[in-house]
Amino acid sequence: MHLLEVNNVTKRFGGITALKNVSLYIDSGEKIAIIGPNGSGKTTLFNVINGVYIPEDGRIIYMGRDITKLSAHERAKLGIARAFQITRPFPGLSVRENVMIGALFGTLSEKINTREALKIADEMLKLVGLYNKRDELAIKLTGPERKLLELARALAMKPKILLLDEIVAGMPPAKVDEIVDLVKNVAERENIAVGVMVEHVIRAVIRFAERVYVLDRGEIVLSGKVEDVMRNPKLREIYLGTRFKGGV
């Protein structure tokens, strides 16, 4: 049994079909990447998996249970955590309180009190390197720091599956390597399945993932082992066929 299965999911926004019959799966502790040009539906896919949107068609099975219509907060409690592409810190709360909220309402939820949540928050902040900013208001953080806060808050939920949306976008290569290693280490230590979404095909992220799905205009057009997909000429086509400027 897979940890998460997305079966033939379709999601429309008015006339736009953002996701067309999308199917994929992820196993426990596995690391996958979902790549695709801007507007191909990656963020929407995450939104459907974690309950921000309910799909028009198809089903989402998590740990053998149909969660297609389950509300977002219940999915969070079941262990689906998410870092937003457009970061959404709670601006008026401190960095520490932001991460505490992750711990308080994640999978540990009812099992821990605020004291323990605070400990977890501090651990996570040390992990991502934001510990010395713990008592700043989240609104004061810079763009890249906000990305790290997203990561810390998601990790504090102690999830079974972590969905990272463009977590390294706009970061310098050295920083990208650092974060990729960090996620890899935590994920392996705590057996967290990770799905990363990237627009630009960053080698490091591709190396990090065991399997990759390629999304184009709402459809999965390629999938499989990283090496196989990377060698597939179709991949170039997808990226060259769009406004994408960088190389693969």
């Binding site: 709670f90 008026g92 309402f105 939820s109 605020t114 004291r115 400990k119």
Partner: protein, 334 residues
């Protein structure tokens, strides 16, 4: 924060200390006693409203209804007790229970309906509710209709002639003091609990809060009910002081705005905000009445505009944002 001591109670200690000072002032200077009771009344309501408005950011313009239902609960309890020859303590307890039941059940219905709306729509719905209640009481002549309920006679009967000042001054004043303390402590306990963090997350970004596992519907509802019930208890004590209640005053939106202003002025979601907001508000209202009689409201409207323009997050809230770096500020302003 101090190492090893994770949760810091400085703001709670300051709050309790302030209450003690107010009470000491009240007992030592009888000439200021009524002004200080007015202050405590505003503190109690502001702390209660803070639990909902301050913590979630939802603006309830019909909030006065819960105060009004508290007024009615006590008035009904007292008149029932006097007609049925119950004892005076039974009358007060019955009144408080009725207040809680009335406010709790109306808040339950409203919360279930209106909390699904956001922003302006929520505000309009709550205005609609308070007005509907008022006109139902007047139009269907429920609870005395437009003539209201006058309980002075009933109180005389229940407490006796010599007990009348006890029933209308000492008892409600003490009750309001206890409520001010209780609402403050409850607000503090909520602020440092899971519920509090969930509510603040809702205030900051409701959709994100959901994604991080906050059951937003439930949390808003719980805060709403707790807040409404506490305010109704303040209302029930206030009935004893005024001894006569009428629908237009009991459901007057201006009072809702008064409560909102106090919470705003101090700083919503902070523990000490309501204390500061209520102090500034009630003192200036009192002295405006003394020095500029007839012009209070005009001055009030100008002050209100200035507050909105200058202190978006309230006095305590602005201080908090501005000085958040300093440990001492973080401790005091929770």
């Amino acid at each position: 924060m101090i190492k090893g001591k994770i949760i810091d109670h400085t703001s709670l200690i300051i709050m309790i200390f302030s209450y003690i000072i107010i009470w000491m002032l009240k007992t030592s200077f009888p000439e200021y006693s009524q002004m200080l009771t007015l202050l405590l009344y505003y503190i109690a309501i502001a702390q209660a409203y803070n639990i909902f408005l301050g913590m979630t950011g939802y603006v309830d313009f019909g909030y006065v209804s819960y105060f009004g239902l508290g007024l009615y609960g006590m008035a009904l309890g007292v008149s029932y007790a006097s007609q049925n020859n119950l004892s005076s303590s039974e009358a007060i307890i019955l009144g408080m229970i009725l207040s809680v039941i009335l406010a709790g059940s109306v808040a339950g219905v409203v919360g279930g309906i209106a909390l699904r709306l956001r922003g302006a729509f929520f505000a309009i719905a709550t205005i609609g509710l308070s007005q509907a209640l008022r006109y139902l009481i007047e139009g269907a002549k429920i609870w005395g209709g437009a003539e209201g309920i006058i309980i002075a006679k009933d109180l005389r009967k229940l407490f006796g002639e010599e007990g009348f000042s006890y029933a209308t001054i000492i008892l409600p004043d003490t009750g309001i003091f206890i409520l001010a303390v209780a609402t403050g402590i409850i607000m503090y306990l909520i602020r440092i609990s899971r519920l509090g963090y969930g509510l603040l997350a809702i205030k900051e970004d409701e959709d994100a809060a959901k994604v991080f596992g906050v059951n937003t519907t439930l949390y808003k509802f719980v805060a709403f009910i707790i807040s409404a019930v506490l305010t109704s208890l303040v209302g029930s004590m206030w009935t004893l002081k005024v001894t006569a209640i009428y629908p237009p005053e009991s459901f007057n939106i201006t009072f809702s705005v008064e409560f909102i202003v106090i919470v705003m002025l101090g700083g919503g979601g902070t523990v000490l905000g309501p204390l500061i907001g209520a102090s500034i508000y009630s003192l200036s209202k009192y002295y405006l009445g003394v020095y500029l009689p007839g012009l209070q409201l005009t001055v009030f409207s100008i002050i209100l505009l200035l507050i909105v323009l200058l202190f978006r997050q309230g006095i305590v809230g602005e201080l908090r944002s501005f000085l958040y770096k300093h440990e001492i500020v973080r401790k005091i302003i929770r």
